[in-house]
């Protein structure tokens, strides 16, 4: 004889059966039955954020650092619309996330009821898939399917909209879903991500790689998503082939930054050696990267002499931006394993890359990330601040999150990552305000880790309310603000393309960040001069609780190297003094 459970209880039971430990959320009228069910159980830990947008980014940070899906629970209407940015962010960066939104009772849907929004309609194009569940008997199966879709193939966010009456109504329990059964068998036959690639293509790719004289491995976030074993396989394939490695913003950490064949990040703010190597390579092996416009620069001048192989689990990524010679649809970790196996079986040896390595050494000699001189002896260059932060923390394998802008690019350039899942940043969507909630999520996923949000003074204000969340749950996150009193990247673009007309990019009326920190029960620190920098960082690390550091850096530093939008990899700007004049309209439009 089966029992009956309410939809809310079925939700709690099923989430727990799916291995969920933490739910990020915010209560409201349309989720009161679920919150009551949460009150009566001890399986799920609920983390109360201060705005629903914070919950979405916290779930992203949790997912990106642990590899497990992030789970969010919010109410209808404004609760649901506030998570839209986080959904779009997770879709762009392929972050597994399941969001439960409350909805007005079924009979009120469509009547413009209080806190009603068409959540399924609004989120349709910023989710991998979404559902409106109208019957509690369907809820458990829908949740199982949602988790499978969110975490398999190219991961992404899934929304389940749950009307209030469905949370209260009951259905037989246990449901007919067998939690132990293989989810692939259970979910609908139309969803079938291709994880195993065509063996013939992999063999051909190995032969191309073995024959290449100037190969380069161009890696992306797909390696991180595929799991730590994919990063290990990447390192193995690299040591077999000797090919230099570059990575997108999202892929940092898949290959160790301390490795002699690491070229650094590529693209708009990538290194000279990475971009020139892409330009002159005879073979590009793209692994879980998607040829983003920030990576390719001018498409018609992109890597003109290279054969291109693109490995991606998402078929639509292949030939979307750059036509490639060979597209391999499959899980990048599995493809790498196969490539290693075939390489060994066929007894391939490294091709002599003396000439290639010599070219790369010449490009490296430019030392494109050299920190420019500070305007005066005690001024802190932002790049220096990041390097000192790295020196003080790298032995502890910190998890670094960022906001969006100059500080993000400086962190990507100057903070060396050795391992996957330690670098959490909003790459595709470029969401300011991502870093603090993401740090909170990451800290919850790994309570013993050192988690630092490298921030800008403008970005941090977009979600600074989440400081209270860190306080409430005693999360010792560190926020390191590079404060230059400008929306620095906006100002940099205005300098480069609009003759320094700094339209609305000055950070007027800044709060006193030290007192802001103290108001939330955090430790607040200010670093004004270079000789305070190391001590300030040490004081931040010494404090056992959350710390906000207001690090005053030079106001007008710009982020270089830079490929101006619409330019080719060979047209890099290395130094501020190479910048002049205004861009024409064609270049301006290519942002």
């Amino acid at each position: 004889m089966k029992d009956e459970l309410s939809g809310a209880d079925i939700l709690v039971e099923t989430l727990s059966a799916l291995g969920v430990e933490i739910v990020f959320g915010y209560p409201g009228g349309a989720v009161l039955p679920i919150y009551d069910a949460l009150f009566k159980q001890r399986k799920l830990r609920h983390i109360l954020v201060r705005q629903e947008g914070g919950a979405a980014h916290a779930a992203e940070g949790y997912a990106r650092s642990t590899g497990k899906p992030g789970v969010v629970l919010v109410t209808s209407g404004p609760g649901a619309t506030n998570i839209v940015t986080g959904l779009a962010d997770a879709l762009m960066d392929s972050i597994p996330m399941v969001v439960i939104t409350g909805q007005v009772p079924t009979h009120l849907i469509g009547t413009d009821a209080f806190q009603e929004a068409d959540t399924v309609g609004i989120t349709r194009h910023c989710t991998k898939h979404n559902y409106l569940v109208k019957d509690p008997a369907r809820l458990a199966a829908t949740l199982h399917e949602a988790f499978h879709i969110a975490t398999s193939g190219r991961p992404g966010p899934v929304v389940i909209d749950l009307p209030k009456d469905v949370q209260i109504a009951t259905a037989p329990w246990p449901a007919d879903v067998d939690a132990a059964a293989d989810p692939v068998v259970r979910v609908r036959p139309t969803y079938r991500p291709q994880e195993a690639a065509d063996p013939a293509l992999i063999e051909a790719a190995v032969e191309m790689l073995a024959a290449a004289e100037r190969p380069i491995l161009y890696t992306g976030g797909g390696i991180i998503n595929s799991g730590p074993q994919a990063s290990a396989a990447l390192r193995q394939l690299q040591s077999l082939t000797g090919a230099p490695v570059t990575s997108t913003l999202m892929g940092l950490g898949a290959f160790p930054a301390s490795h002699p064949d690491w070229l650094g990040m590529l693209g708009m703010h990538g290194t000279y050696e990475a971009n020139l190597a892409m330009n002159e390579a005879d073979l590009i092996l793209a692994l879980g990267a998607r040829f983003d416009d920030r990576v390719t620069g001018r498409v018609d001048a992109f890597a003109p002499g290279a054969k291109k192989i693109h490995v991606d689990i998402d078929r639509s990524s292949i030939n979307k931006v750059i036509r490639v010679d060979m597209g391999i649809v499959g899980d990048v970790g599995r493809v790498l394993d196969e490539m290693i196996r075939i390489w060994r079986e066929r007894g391939h040896a490294r091709v002599d890359q003396t000439d290639w390595q010599a070219r790369i050494a010449r490009w490296r000699a430019k030392d494109c990330l050299a920190v420019p001189p500070a305007p005066d002896a005690q001024a802190i260059m932002p790049q220096t601040a990041i390097r000192r932060l790295w020196e003080a923390t790298h032995a502890r394998r910190p998890i670094i999150t960022t906001e969006v802008g100059q500080h993000q690019m400086w962190a990507a350039q100057h903070f060396g990552f050795e391992d996957p899942n330690r670098w959490l940043t909003s790459g595709g969507l470029g969401t300011m305000g991502y870093g603090l909630p993401a740090a909170i999520g990451a800290q919850l996923g790994d309570p013993d880790a050192l988690v630092i949000d490298i921030a800008g003074e403008a970005s941090i204000q977009m979600n600074s309310q989440e400081m209270a969340t860190a306080t409430q749950y005693r999360l010792p996150v560190k926020v390191f603000i590079l404060n230059n009193e400008y929306m620095g990247m906006v100002r940099q673009w205005q300098e480069l393309t609009y003759s320094s007309r700094y339209s609305e990019s000055y950070s007027e009326a800044l709060p006193d960040f030290v007192r802001l920190a103290e108001a939330y029960g955090w430790r607040g620190l200010r670093i004004d001069t270079l000789d305070q920098l190391d001590d300030g960082i040490a004081a931040m690390l010494d404090h056992p609780g959350p710390v906000m550091v207001d690090c005053r850096v030079t106001k007008l530093a710009n982020c270089f190297p830079m490929i101006p939008s619409g330019a080719a990899h060979t047209d890099m700007i290395l130094q501020a003094n190479e910048v002049s004049g205004e861009m024409d309209d064609e270049a301006r439009a290519l942002v």
Partner: protein
Amino acid sequence: MHIRPEAAERHTLSIIVDNESGILARIAGLFSARGYNIESLTVADITEDEAVSRITIVTKGSPAVIEQIIAQLDRLVPVHRVTDLTALGPYVERELALVKVAGSGDHRIEALRLAEVYRARVVDATISSFVFEVTGGTEKIDKFLELMREVGLVEVARTGVAAIARGRDAGQ
């Protein structure tokens, strides 16, 4: 700076989908979100249990865009398969239009005569009007409507294109 249009070719796509709420919005929205064109779209369920629908979309784009459209459609969760009928080989394409024409005297006689040429059936008639039912390829319907405009076209309802591969097998 000026915006320049791209060269495009016409393709008829057949999309087999789970017949669930929101599927049409999902597909139509994908086209608008990514800037693809829809020239015509038809949808109806095609299985006994009404669980599966066929959506036929006529679209225009460069070969690279068409390839992207297919890949983007194919990764939607409720999509069973996408077939590019234009690329696949011979296929049959039909559209139905209901065409209301009003007039008297010579116009009325001419309308009837033209309808016969186009094998259009009269499905409604009054002393001063006809409703014709005409089926055929898009071009034939276009041509018929062009002629009807000369003889008193009042209004028209078109179904959009339904298409299917020739031969005995289901399209891949």
